[in-house]
C-alpha cells in the first residue's frame, strides 16, 4: 500500500529533540476519529509538525447514485449523509429542489420544518458535546447523559416519521405527514424540560478545570483564515464572524423568530464548544416560539406530483444552516426525471480544510480534541 505518502517536515520547523520524526497513521480504525477518518501525522516528540487528513473510507458514491435516481428517490439517501441530522439534510435537499422547480411550501409545513430542524440541532449538539468529552477521556458519563436526551428527541422523530434516524420526512412542497396535537404536546414537554438538562450538563462539563485546560488556547483559528477557508457554522462563529444563514438568507420563516447568534472571541476549542452550548439555548427559544405560532393548515403543496417529477431545465443552489454549517445542494436539471448533476456541499468536509493549521504545534493528544471540536460526520465528509 503506498497511500502513505512521505511525510517531510516543513523546513521552518526545526527539531527540538535530536530524534527523528515519527510518522503515525491515526485511523481509519481509531476510537475517537468519529468514524473511519485517517490522519497521517508527523510527530516531533509529541508535537505535531505535519498532519495530512486521508479521506474516502466512507465514500459511498452519494452523488453518483443521486444522478442515477429520481429526485424523490434521492430524498432517503440524504438521510444517510449526515446521519445525525437527517431532518436538516432533508430540508436542504427539499429547499434546493423547490428552488429548482419554483415550488411553494405551505405555511404549516415551513413551521414544522423549523421545529424539526431545531430539534435536530439540539440532539446533534448534545451528542457532539458527549463525544467530545469522551474523546478527552471522560469515558462514558457525558455521552450517556447526552444520549439519554437524544433518545427523547429520537422518539419524537420516530413517532412522527416512522424511523429514529432515517426520517425521510420532507417532500418537495411540504412534509409527508402532519404532526397531530398530541405529538405537539409531547414535543412541548420535551422542549420545556431541555433547559434543565442543559444547565445540568453545563455544570458537569463547562466549568470543569480539565475541560478548560484541554480546550482553551488549543486549536486557535483566526477570523481571516476561517472566512477564506470556507468555514461555516459554529466553527466560523467561534472566531467572531457573524454569519448565520438563518439570518442571512432568512429561509423557512426564520425571520419571524427572535433569536440571537452566539459569537465566540478566540476561535479556540473552548469557544467552539461553548458555541454549541449557547446555540442549544437559542434553539430552545426558537422551538418555543414556533410551537406557539404554528398555524393549522395543509402540510403539502397539492400541485406537486410525487411520481414522474420533472423540474424545468436549469440549475439551483440551495443552502441552509445545518447544525454543522452550511449544507448546500447544487442541482442541474436537464428536464428529465433524474438530476443531471447532483452535488452536496458538505459542511464538515470543508471545515476540515484547516485541520492541519489548527493542529500544528500542538501535542498529539490535542489532535483528538481539535478534531472533535470540528464536529465531523464521516457520512457527510466522504459522502
Amino acid at each position: 500500500m503506498n497511500t502513505t505518502e512521505m511525510l517531510q517536515p516543513p523546513p521552518a520547523m526545526t527539531s527540538r529533540l535530536d530524534g527523528e520524526l515519527m510518522e503515525v497513521s491515526m485511523g481509519p480504525q481509531h476510537p475517537s476519529t468519529h468514524g473511519v477518518f485517517r490522519m497521517n501525522v508527523a510527530l516531533d516528540g509529541e508535537m505535531v509538525v505535519k498532519l495530512k487528513p486521508v479521506f474516502g473510507y466512507l465514500h459511498r458514491n452519494h452523488e453518483k447514485i443521486g444522478e442515477n435516481t429520481s429526485y424523490l428517490g434521492s430524498m432517503p439517501y440524504t438521510d444517510r449523509l449526515d446521519y445525525f441530522c437527517s431532518m436538516t439534510n432533508n430540508w436542504a435537499y427539499a429547499l434546493s429542489v423547490e428552488k429548482l422547480a419554483g415550488i411553494e411550501v405551505p405555511e404549516r409545513a415551513e413551521y414544522l420544518r423549523v421545529i424539526l430542524a431545531e430539534l435536530t440541532r439540539l440532539q446533534n449538539h448534545a451528542s457532539l458535546l458527549g463525544f467530545l468529552l469522551s474523546d478527552m477521556g471522560a469515558w462514558g458519563t457525558p455521552l450517556m447523559y447526552a444520549f439519554r436526551e437524544r433518545e427523547k428527541i429520537l422518539d419524537l422523530f420516530e413517532s412522527l416519521s416512522g424511523s429514529r434516524m432515517m426520517c425521510d420526512y420532507m417532500r418537495f412542497g411540504g412534509c409527508r405527514v402532519d404532526a397531530g396535537p398530541d405529538w405537539m404536546e409531547r414535543a412541548k414537554k420535551i422542549v420545556d424540560l431541555f433547559p434543565k438538562f442543559l444547565d445540568e450538563f453545563e455544570k458537569l462539563i463547562l466549568s470543569n478545570e480539565i475541560v478548560i485546560m484541554r480546550t482553551q488556547e488549543v486549536g486557535k483559528l483566526s477570523a481571516e483564515l476561517a472566512i477564506n477557508a470556507g468555514m461555516t457554522g459554529p466553527m466560523l462563529r467561534a472566531c467572531g464572524v457573524n454569519y448565520d444563514i438563518r439570518k442571512v438568507d432568512g429561509y423557512g420563516f426564520y425571520p419571524r423568530f427572535k433569536f440571537r447568534v452566539p459569537l465566540g472571541e478566540h476561535g479556540d476549542c473552548y469557544d467552539r464548544l461553548m458555541m454549541r452550548a449557547l446555540e442549544m439555548h437559542e434553539s430552545v427559544g426558537i422551538l418555543k416560539q414556533a410551537m406557539e405560532q404554528i398555524p393549522a393548515g395543509p402540510v403539502m403543496n397539492p400541485k406537486v406530483k410525487i411520481r414522474a417529477f420533472r423540474p424545468p431545465v436549469g440549475e439551483a443552489y440551495g443552502r441552509i444552516e445545518g447544525p454543522k454549517g452550511e449544507l448546500g445542494f447544487y442541482l442541474i436539471s436537464d428536464g428529465g426525471t433524474n438530476p443531471y448533476r447532483y452535488r452536496v456541499r458538505p459542511p464538515s468536509f470543508i471545515n476540515l480544510t484547516v485541520l492541519e493549521d489548527l493542529c500544528l504545534g500542538h501535542t498529539v493528544a490535542d489532535v483528538m480534541v481539535i478534531l472533535g471540536s470540528v464536529d465531523i460526520v464521516l457520512g457527510e465528509v466522504d459522502r
Binding site: R80, L204, S207, N208, I306, R307
Partner: protein, 207 residues
Amino acid sequence: MIGTGILKGMAVTARNFVGSYFEKDRLITVQYPEERSPLPENYRNFPFLIYDTDDPEAGLRCVACKICEKECPPQCIYIIKSEDKKPDYMGKPQFYAAVFDIDISVCMSCQICVEVCPFEAIKMDKVFELSKRERFDALLQRKNELAKSNEYYHSIHPIEAAEVDAKLAEAAAAAAKKKAAAAAATAAGSTSAPGTVPVAPAPPTTP
C-alpha cells in the same frame, strides 16, 4: 478555586445516580427482551403485501403494476407480472404478481413504495427481529412470506388502516355507482354492443 468545577460535575453525577432510584425520568433503561418500548403507530421497517379475504394467494391487492419496482430507490423489489388475469378479491379479473420478491438485505425502509402504490397493496411492517445466520435465501422475502392479512395491518397501524379501508370502500362505492350508471346507459341505448367490457375500478386517488 481549582477543583470546584470538578466537584460540581461530581455532584451532578451523584445526583443522577441517586436520582435514578427515585425519578422515573432518570431511569430509562428498557429491559429488552422482557420489556419492550411500544412502537409508535408510524414506525416502519420493511414492506409487506396486504391480502383481503382469507386467501393469501388470491386475495392480494397487488396487481403487478410495477410502479413500486420502478420507484424503489435501492431497487430491492422484483416483480414478474402474470401472463393471465385472475379474479382478484373483489371478483374483477386483474393481473397478479407471478413473482414478488423483496430483498430485505438491501431495503432502506424509505416507504416510497407505500407512497407510490395506487392500490394500497404494499404497507410497512413493524417486525424488526429478523437476524439470520444465513444471507442469500434467508433475507430474500418471497411472495408467500410477504403476504399478510388486512387484519394484521389493522393490528399494527390501526389509525392508518382504518383510513385506508374507508378510502377503499369509498372508491369501491364510486366504482359500483359508475358501473350501475354505465349499465343503465347500455340498457337505454340498445344499439350498443352487448357484453361490454367490465369497467375497471377507478384506482384510489394517488396521494
